[in-house]
């Protein structure tokens, strides 16, 4: 991969990020021309308090000045103060990043691996009972709202069978460090992780199945068989690697979806990540918090897309040579 190719991709991602930042400004200042009005909607605030809020948000300034201040502050990761807790938004977000990275990262990888494996098996034995069972199950999972699946698992595995805790990050008062603390966290992450994994593996299985079915018609597979290669070897060396390509882009797109799914699922299990923070910000409503979360989540998805683009180019030389 040439440095120019990487440079162009990185530049593209940066331009997208700038677009999101500008878009975010207009969302909150132009569409909603009275952010203070939204904040005080349904609250009893004195004239004086409203005035102070206007100054806090800088809405008493002319628009270009507001924009300049917004850009400078965003660049310094200063997203203002939470309307609910009066803490800096970035401090709250920073403390919530890691739980989400663990949860979403683990689930995204697991759903991709398990879903892909199911898709491969189903396509290779097309029409078999395994194919029917797997395709039926994945279609069903794909049709379920992720949070409803989470509620069902919560009832079944946490309430009825009591295999897992019903929510939280660690046991109450559990400040165990080291291995015991890690095991405790993993135990709490099991249910939200399982929910997200099950909710998002369906798409991988469906796409991998049709991608592999496409590949199976290719001449080079006939040749590989004619050479006398065993069935498993044909699959592993020739069919699967080519069918995997469309999946790389899907992983990046899906990362955004799993991140979105984490909003409802984290709130069900009170997992203290960005999703729960978003849920709480919606309920408050806490606009500065929502704005900051929107920027951080968008930046994460842009980064994931950039990595997928680079990985795709590394895996598929045809993409690299395209201008």
């Amino acid at each position: 991969m040439s440095a120019r190719f990487v440079g162009r991709k990185v530049l593209g991602a940066l331009v997208t990020l700038v677009f999101v930042i500008v878009f975010n400004f207009f969302l909150f200042r132009v569409v909603e021309n009275d952010p203070v009005g939204t904040l005080v909607r349904g609250r009893n605030l004195t004239e004086e308090q409203q005035q102070r809020l206007s100054e806090d948000f800088g809405v008493d300034q002319p628009m270009p000045e507001q924009f300049r201040r917004y850009v400078v502050e965003t660049a310094q990761l200063n997203f203002g103060l939470s309307f609910e807790t009066r803490e800096p938004v970035w401090d709250v977000i920073r403390s919530r990043i890691w739980p989400t990275v663990f949860l979403v990262g683990t689930s995204a990888v697991l759903s991709a691996v398990i879903g892909t494996w199911l898709g491969i098996q189903a396509a290779w034995k097309r029409g078999s009972s395994f194919d029917y069972a797997s395709t039926g199950t994945t279609m069903l999972l794909y049709s379920m709202p992720d949070f409803w699946l989470g509620l069902l698992l919560l009832v079944l595995l946490a309430n009825k069978l009591a295999l897992f805790p019903t929510g939280g990050f660690t046991d109450a008062g559990g400040d165990a460090t080291g291995l015991a603390g890690l095991a405790d966290q993993a135990h709490h992450m099991a249910l939200p992780g399982l929910t997200l994994t099950l909710a998002y593996l369906g798409e991988y299985a469906i796409i991998m199945r049709s991608s592999l079915l496409d590949t199976m018609g290719e001449d080079y597979l006939v040749l590989a068989r004619a050479k006398g290669l065993r069935d498993a070897l044909v699959r592993r060396r020739h069919a699967v690697p080519n069918a995997l390509l469309p999946l790389v882009t899907l992983i990046a797109i899906n990362f955004g979806f799993v991140l979105g799914g984490a909003i409802a699922v984290e709130s069900i299990y009170s997992w203290p990540g960005l999703g729960l923070a978003t849920y709480q910000a919606i309920r408050a409503p806490d606009l500065p918090m929502l704005q900051g979360l929107f920027l951080v989540l968008s930046a994460a998805v842009i980064l994931a897309n950039l990595l997928a683009d680079l990985l795709y180019a590394y895996l598929d030389p045809r993409v690299r040579s395209e201008s």
Binding site: F23, T38, M139, P145, N159, T278, P285, Q291, S298
Partner: protein, 303 residues
């Protein structure tokens, strides 16, 4: 034969009718497609006759004050009551109306916008195309649900706003799909011939491009509805739904907030969820069956 029966309009309509009959015959042969269609019709009928089979007064807490709360199915009403004594069955029936209505109208708006952008970009090319496609890519990258949440939070909760929010967030993938199809249709010889005969852009896009991408738009529409319904449900579950209308997502939100999970009030949280799964699955089955018939890329596949 008289000249009247051979008028170009007549010929075109006969041809269209035949094509429709052919598509229906192919569709009928798909068992998953037919199962999806039957489930779908059942829900549409239920939603349409909701005022006849269920009293909407049972949805308002002030009317149900004398009803028992958390009544099990059979104890009070066919599906029991919720924490405020409201009928769960009524919420299910009336919720179907909102879920289907939002699902269909938001999809229609999405398709309208996506097709417009796709056709404009694909047909005209050049600078407008690169501008439109850049915008499309940006919107594709912005995470869908956070954007929808932020928009819904700013615009305020109402059915119209939810429809608008969903349309704003879901048009880009349609635009990309339609553009790709327009690009291949544009290359065909009859478009050049028509242009040589003096056809303008309006005639070309409405008479040649649109009819040729319409089947793909239809298949894509059927596949977009389930995604839209799931989005509506999620937004309602997060508390961004219309507070004055019963919807399946809102029922689930209230069930969860009222502690139906801890009480194991399965009659409260199961029906709405099962309704969503049934409708989403039905639309997906219909859409996949249609896509196999109408999508030129899949039509000749031997799978």
């Amino acid at each position: 034969m008289t000249a009247v029966t051979l008028s170009p309009r007549r010929v075109a309509w006969t041809r269209r009718r035949r094509a429709l009959a052919r598509t229906w015959a192919q569709y009928r042969a798909s068992r998953p497609g037919m199962i999806g269609l039957v489930i779908l019709l059942a829900f549409v009928v239920m939603a349409l006759i909701a005022p006849l089979i269920s009293d909407s007064g049972g949805l308002v807490a002030s009317n149900t004050i004398q009803n028992p709360a958390w009544a099990r199915p059979g104890e009070f009403g066919p599906l029991g009551t919720d924490h405020l004594g409201r009928s769960v069955a009524a919420q299910f029936v009336w919720g179907a109306r909102i879920s289907l209505f939002v699902g269909l109208t938001a999809t229609l708006l999405t398709m309208l916008f996506g097709s417009l952008v796709g056709i404009l970009a694909g047909f005209f090319g050049g600078r407008p195309e690169s501008l439109l496609m850049r915008l499309t890519e940006w919107f594709l990258v912005i995470p869908f649900l956070p954007l929808a949440i932020v928009l819904a939070a700013i615009l305020g909760p109402s059915v119209q706003n939810i429809i608008l929010v969903i349309a704003i967030t879901s048009w880009p993938s349609t635009a990309r799909l339609i553009r790709a199809q327009v690009l291949t249709v544009k290359q065909r010889l009859y478009v050049d011939r028509s242009r040589a005969l003096g056809a303008g852009n309006w005639h070309l896009t409405t008479r040649h491009i649109l009819p040729n991408v319409a089947p793909l738009i239809l298949a894509n529409t059927t596949l977009t509805v389930p995604i839209v319904i799931l989005t509506e449900t999620t937004l309602a579950f997060l508390g961004l739904g219309d507070p004055d209308r019963a919807s399946w997502g809102r029922t689930l939100d209230e069930a969860f907030s009222a502690g139906a999970i801890g009480r194991d009030a399965w009659w409260y949280y199961l029906p709405a969820g099962l309704g969503i799964v049934a409708v989403v699955l039905a639309f997906t089955l219909c859409g996949q069956a249609l896509e196999e018939i109408l999508n030129p890329r899949l039509r000749n596949k031997t799978s």
